[in-house]
């Protein structure tokens, strides 16, 4: 890294530092605002966190200027990460058979057995 390059990087790091502190204050401030819909507050909070996360990843972790191998690795990770998030949603919508089905079966069996005994 040349001397000029280092100075340029240091300037960017300082600006990112200030931006992160400002966004932290905004996040806390936004949490005191009463939004009409709960989801709107959550969305705004997560959006600010995503911007902060991007600033850290792009500048401190140098992802804005990285080798292809790392980008491919991260795309693969992001794919599995999304999959991981979808698994509970599939369970929630009973798209995948959950324990509820199991318990329903048990209840049916119990009712049937109960009926037989009389």
């Amino acid at each position: 890294m040349s001397h000029d390059n280092i100075e340029k990087h240091v300037k960017i790091y300082k600006n990112v530092f200030i931006a992160l502190l400002v966004f932290t204050v905004i996040t806390v401030g936004a949490s005191y605002i009463h939004f009409n819909a709960v989801w709107l507050g959550i969305l705004i909070g997560l959006l600010i966190a995503t911007v902060k996360g991007y600033l850290v990843a792009a500048n401190f972790m140098h992802l804005n200027d990285e080798k292809k191998a790392i980008y491919w690795l991260l795309i693969l990770t992001a794919g599995f990460f999304v999959l991981l998030f979808f698994i509970p949603i599939l369970f929630k919508g009973n798209i995948v058979k959950t324990q509820d089905y199991f318990w329903d079966d048990v209840k049916v069996e119990q009712v049937e057995n109960h009926g037989d005994s009389h």
Partner: protein, 196 residues
């Protein structure tokens, strides 16, 4: 036998091996914390009165900890820049500040945990506190792990600077990547648990 591509870049990846290694490790960390975030969402949407104990959390202390961790991230990257400029004195100073910040983070966390326990709020109290203690506890363990490596790099590990400057700089970059990831996790943990 010497381990290959410690300093030289591997022709097929364009990276030194430790860098690819730490990114693979961070990918596994994404899945680890991702699983817990997923559990948090599922519990939040599926449990009645899930957030009832959120008011017990101390927002000012967590905001302070966020600022402390962001500062430590900047000083960590500045430590790496110092090595790139051949300035070992500045490197030591920035690493010490990073270590100090991580220590402050843990002390603040200790006070937060103590306050909860004094009010008889434990991981077993309810689902929210269960996931709160699990996620912040795991994050805290990552802070301790990072501190151990930093202590090594300003302690016995610093000898490498005299024998192999480039490899030592690479080691600092690798711990830096880990440390920024720990900061990144906190950036999402803070609003999810304390604010939203």
């Amino acid at each position: 036998m010497q381990i290959p591509y410690n300093e030289k870049l591997r022709p097929d990846t364009g990276l030194y091996n430790a860098k690819l290694g730490i990114w693979l490790f961070l990918a596994s960390e994404v899945m680890l914390f991702g699983g817990l975030f997923s559990a948090y969402i599922l519990l939040r949407v599926g449990t009645p009165f899930f957030m009832s104990n959120q008011s017990a959390l101390n927002v000012p202390l967590a905001t302070l900890n966020t600022a402390v961790l962001i500062t430590s991230s900047v000083t960590m990257v500045m430590a790496w820049v110092s090595l790139k400029s051949n300035d070992l004195k500045k490197y030591k100073m920035y690493m010490m500040i990073t270590l100090l910040c991580s220590f402050i983070f843990l002390i603040v966390k200790y006070f937060e945990y103590s306050a909860k326990f004094n009010h008889h709020l434990y991981p077993s109290t309810d689902n929210f506190l269960g996931i709160y203690f699990t996620m912040t506890g795991l994050h805290g363990l990552h802070i301790i792990g990072g501190m151990a490596v930093m202590l090594y790099l300003i302690g016995p590990g610093i000898k490498m600077w005299d024998t192999n400057k480039e490899r030592f700089t690479n080691r600092t970059e690798v711990i830096g990547l880990y440390w920024h990831f720990v900061d990144l996790v906190w950036i999402f943990l803070f609003p999810s648990l304390y604010l939203l």
